[in-house]
Symmetry: C2
Subunit: 134 residues, 2 copies
């Protein structure tokens, strides 16, 4: 199967397939005599696996690691488990950060609601330094 068909079957664009290959997520495929990439049907599974791992929040770098272990014939479960916990910790931190920013913004929104626009001389009163440090 050529790259176009693989793209159609997997829902991953040909561009992205080449990109994944170039960045080490996919092995170099066989080539037809004229140089076209020639895939086995199993390639679809690998693409779906990558997409799936992505939606689980893993980065391509992490997926690459998992696949490398897998490709060496080792069960990657232990590594995957570690990765998942790392990701969870990271995610929690990011959510905390965003929530803190959200708090600051809500604070500003409240200020904005009671502020007289005419009072905005110089730099805007709403955003003026000191507004959220108190």
């Amino acid at each position: 199967m050529r790259i176009g068909e693989l793209a159609a079957r997997s829902g991953v664009t040909a561009k992205t397939i080449r990109f994944w290959e170039a960045t080490g997520l996919l092995a170099d495929p066989d080539r037809t005599p004229s140089g076209y990439r020639d895939y086995e049907p199993e390639a679809v599974d690998r693409l779906e696996f990558i997409r799936h791992a992505q939606t689980a929040g893993l980065t391509l770098a992490e997926i690459r690691q998992v696949l490398a272990i897998s490709d060496e014939g080792n069960p990657p479960c232990h590594h995957v488990t570690e990765l998942i916990h790392l990701r969870l910790t990271d995610l929690d931190r990011r959510i905390r950060d965003l929530t803190a920013t959200r708090q600051r913004l809500r604070h500003l929104a409240e200020r904005a609601a009671i502020q007289d626009p005419a009072a905005c001389a110089g730099y805007c009163v709403i955003l003026r330094p000191g507004a959220t440090t108190s």
Copy 2:
């Protein structure tokens, strides 16, 4: 005052000051006869304002808009208020997305805990497609 002193006073690196100038957040400053940037003391306020707006979660593009309105002598409060609400909406969506991803990861972590590593033939069972679609 030259750029080094401004940097020291504001806590913004000279590199960043030049970057902000190049991207339209700061007006072109006066120059000494030898070509050095020469700032008014008020420049510190502007830098602090930008940093402050940044920690409130606004992007440089948004801050640029606010400053442009401000620089034209108009009170930017209305625009700022809109911006804040836009950011809040955006932030809420991002937090929701991350939380959903977190849920998926927790699901996977549970699967991982009860999984026999030896069962990881082919692609890892934990991450195998279908694992989180149920």
